[in-house]
């Protein structure tokens, strides 16, 4: 019997050694990376799998971020936050703002080599507009009254003038008419074309040689899906990856800085402690202001984010340039005494108990909540964390508004500042549920002045006037302490030394065409 056991042990040990041997060969990829620079290819690590690759069905931000390189609309955004011509070479807007005339660019071809025809363009816009194929993406193309092709001119007539029209048409990606295989073999007009995809594993893009514009420098890019935080770091260190976007400060701390450059951009979101303004005690402005005075944003950023991040004082972030009012950031200077006095005035001299609901899979929000709970102790407020699954959060917090306070990051997925502001219009003024014409006001913020200004802002056709009104809205949110605004989180990107050209956009995209290996 003892012999048998020994034999088994021996066999196991031998098998292990053998396997370890096999493993080493494949994981020793230090040489692979030099290979890639020489071959002019690139490996990018992403933390979340891509969903549908059909431009009208994709909903995951990470998918849109990457397929930005594959698809283009009539116009597209640049890194300055401007909208520039793409498949159209020229855009003309009529005096009354109701008619747009797009001139199709000469020599634009799809990745299968076919030229882009008027028929394709109209098909693409209609596909997104009528919602039959793309219920997910109805967007605001409903203002379109008529689409007409005339030679190489596309004339779109709107039912009413819209400042946001170009920002919306930008997302109507041009695809070949009646093309059926978008899910498995997407075809667009961008600088990179789709090669292959393995679900929950990888996506490969290749430079499109016949691109109408300048095009990219890197020949082939592999996006590797690694859902575990450590796997991305290990991937960088072992040489399997060259670029990883959206890293946390904890992850950055584990990267060897002699091999990598750390680039810091902004995530372009408003991370805040969002308060349910309809629930006691947060219906009292003094309580909300007390919270603002009690919470030291910079301390949150230092403790939880290693100092990376831009403090915010209202529902807008710096990338929005002219709309962003920086002076509001320090409106409430951290002041524990003042916070306590306000609480006393509001009838809570000994503080109160509150719950912070956070989506459990978003570590930055959970971390921020953990720190806030600690900070709030100083003014006598006992905050309990309630981490819940993201979908429960969407349902209970976002849709049904059954919460006290929550931490999340609000974004604007097209280049208009509107989405960050219109959601705070009250139910009384803007309706609820299906009838609601602006974003979901899950914080139940209700302020008459705000509603008045918002109505004016939405109706404004003059850009300058609208900008001024937006800034007034921001000030209103800050003065009334609608929420405790924290920060625009830092977007930390690790790139291998020797790779240059990384460009940050004011929207969530990773532009591959600007990247290149230095020779």
């Amino acid at each position: 019997m003892r012999k048998k056991l020994m034999a088994i042990t021996l066999v196991t040990v031998m098998a292990l050694t053998l396997l370890a041997g096999c493993g080493k060969k494949t994981s020793d990829s230090q040489s692979k990376k030099n290979d890639r620079a020489a071959k002019n290819t690139l490996a990018v690590g992403v933390a979340q799998d891509f969903d549908s690759l059909d431009p009208d069905h994709m909903t995951v931000a990470g998918t849109k971020e990457i397929l930005f390189n594959v698809f283009e609309g009539l116009v597209k955004p640049n890194s300055e936050g401007e909208i520039v011509p793409a498949v159209a070479s020229e855009v003309e807007k009529s005096e009354d703002g109701k008619t747009y005339t797009f001139t199709l660019r000469e020599g634009v071809t799809f990745h299968n080599g076919d030229p882009v025809e008027m028929e394709d363009v109209i098909y693409s816009i209609n596909r997104r507009r009528d919602g039959k194929d793309a219920a997910a993406q109805l967007d605001a193309l409903s203002v379109i009254k008529k689409i007409k092709g005339d030679g190489n001119k596309l004339v779109i007539t709107l039912s009413e003038p819209s400042n946001e029209f170009l920002a919306f048409i930008m997302n109507a990606y041009i695809i070949p008419a009646d093309y059926k295989d978008l899910e498995t073999a997407p075809i667009g007009t961008g600088p990179y074309k789709f090669v292959s995809r393995k679900i929950q594993d990888s996506l490969v893009l290749e430079k499109y040689a016949d691109y109408w514009g300048e095009g990219g420098s890197i020949d082939k890019v592999t996006f590797k899906v690694l859902e575990k935080a450590e796997a991305l770091i290990t991937g960088l260190q072992s040489g399997a990856l060259d670029v990883v976007p959206h890293l946390s400060s904890d992850q950055i701390a584990q990267i060897d800085k002699s091999d990598f450059d750390i680039m810091e951009g902004n995530m372009n979101l408003v991370q805040a402690l969002y308060l349910n303004n309809a629930k006691k005690p947060f219906d009292d402005i003094r309580v909300r202001q007390a919270l603002c005075y009690a919470i030291d944003k910079q301390m949150v950023i230092d403790t939880g984010f290693d100092g990376y991040g831009t403090p915010l004082g209202t529902s807008m972030f710096p990338s929005f340039g002219k709309y962003y009012d920086e002076s509001l950031t320090d409106y409430y200077k951290p002041d524990i005494k003042k916070a306590k006095a306000l609480l006393k005035e509001a009838g809570y001299p000994n503080g109160f108990k509150m719950t912070i609901t956070v989506p459990s899979n978003y570590t930055p929000h959970v971390n921020a909540a953990t720190i806030l709970a600690e900070i709030l102790k100083e003014v006598g407020i006992t905050a309990t964390l309630e981490p819940i699954d993201m979908n429960t959060w969407l349902d209970k917090v976002y849709d049904k508004r059954q919460f006290q306070t929550t931490i999340t990051g609000l974004t604007s997925d097209n280049m208009t500042a509107r989405k960050l502001l219109d959601r705070f219009g009250s139910t009384k003024a803007f309706g609820d549920g299906d009838k609601r014409i602006v974003g979901n006001n899950f914080t139940n913020y209700s302020n008459k002045d705000y509603d008045k200004i918002l109505k004016k802002a939405l109706a404004a056709t003059d850009d300058e006037e609208q900008t001024e009104l937006y800034r007034q809205l921001e000030r209103n949110l800050t003065e009334n302490a609608a929420n405790v605004y924290l920060q625009d989180m830092a977007d930390l990107v690790a790139t291998r030394k020797g790779l240059s050209g990384l460009t940050f956009y004011p929207i969530y995209v990773l532009d591959i065409s600007t990247l290149k290996w230095e020779k």
Binding site: S238, D395, D413, N440
Partner: protein
């Protein structure tokens, strides 16, 4: 015998139907709307409603269940909400990985613990028994995910023998993939090897105390030969049903281990799909996993029936 087999298969079918119905019911009750989950916070509610309609979520509950059931029996598992591809195309390769992981773990358990059980009986007693038993208890106390974390740290980060989270392609790099799975199997099997060894030993002990064994030994038979000829054979039934249960438990534990080591199997896909509320995928995986669990139990029972026909009289109490 035939009748019994049929009865067990009938029970299996009923259980599966109940599981699939319950899963469907769970979707109704679990908060979180797939459409909202896909569209995120920026989408207005009319868009969410349009997507709900597109996905067929606005149809009555029983109609949807009935559609799913008829689809299932004609081999159609539906279309994934988030990937927009047939569910079966998505889970095929993942099923393979989970089966491999479970089989390797199971093999480790059987190969190591059965000889160990006999061994520990043979060498039972003595001054070191309590050390061995305590060690056994200690092994049972090691949670698979903790082993997973330790292995990731030691072999993944320190020695870089494998990279947790980056699973090699099963067909392109079978060696590396197998190694990755092997680490997962170690996590899964340590506590279960301890349990099976212990169980094996106590079965032999109680069997050895039975009258027929005592008689055999008193008749001058060698203890060891009695052990081999009678006792082991008679212990087999309890061992088989125990292993049947173990198989089911391994499967449940793969969910966590796949998560820790980043093995792209069914369990991890299940967790991801639940998080995305991709119900067609969840439904398919739950049914597959449940089938496996119930099948393991049924097979163990049937094997026992054929080993020891007396059990049939006792119904399915065993």
């Amino acid at each position: 015998m035939m009748k019994y087999v049929l009865k067990r298969i009938g029970m299996l079918v009923v259980t599966m139907l109940l599981v699939s119905f319950l899963t469907f019911l769970a979707f109704e009750l679990i908060s979180g709307d797939p459409a909202r989950s896909m569209l995120g916070t920026n989408a207005p509610s009319y868009q969410v409603d349009a997507l709900r309609h597109e996905l067929g979520l606005d149809q009555p509950f029983f109609l949807r269940y009935f559609k799913w059931l008829t689809g299932f029996f004609s081999g159609d598992l539906g279309i994934s909400y988030s990937y927009r591809q047939p569910v079966w195309d998505l889970i095929g390769s993942k099923l393979m990985i989970t089966i491999l992981l479970s089989l390797i773990s199971f093999a480790l358990i059987v190969i190591i613990s059965i000889p160990m059980g006999i061994f520990s009986y043979q060498w039972g007693g003595g001054p070191f028994e309590w050390i061995r038993t305590s060690f056994n208890q200690l092994c049972m106390a090691i949670p698979p995910f903790f082993t997973g974390i330790l292995l990731s740290y030691v072999f993944g980060i320190l020695f870089r023998v494998f990279s947790p989270g980056d699973f090699p392609d099963l067909y392109e790099e079978p060696g590396a993939a197998f190694l990755h799975l092997f680490f997962g199997a170690i996590c899964l099997s340590i506590p279960r090897i301890a349990m099976t060894t212990r169980m094996m030993r106590s079965t032999i002990v109680s069997e050895m105390n039975k009258a027929y064994v005592r008689t055999a030994i008193s008749r001058g038979n060698d203890r060891r030969s009695v052990l081999v000829t009678h006792v082991l054979k008679n212990s087999l039934t309890s061992v088989v049903s125990f292993l049947g249960q173990t198989m089911a438990e391994i499967l449940a534990a793969t969910i966590v281990v796949e998560q820790v080591l980043g093995i792209p199997g069914l369990g991890r896909f299940l967790v991801l799909s639940i998080a995305q509320r991709d119900y067609p995928v969840v439904q398919a995986i739950v049914v597959i996993l449940a089938f496996w669990v119930v099948l393991a139990g049924t097979l163990a029972d049937l094997i026992n029936q054929s080993i020891d026909p007396r059990l049939r009289l006792g119904g399915d109490l065993a």
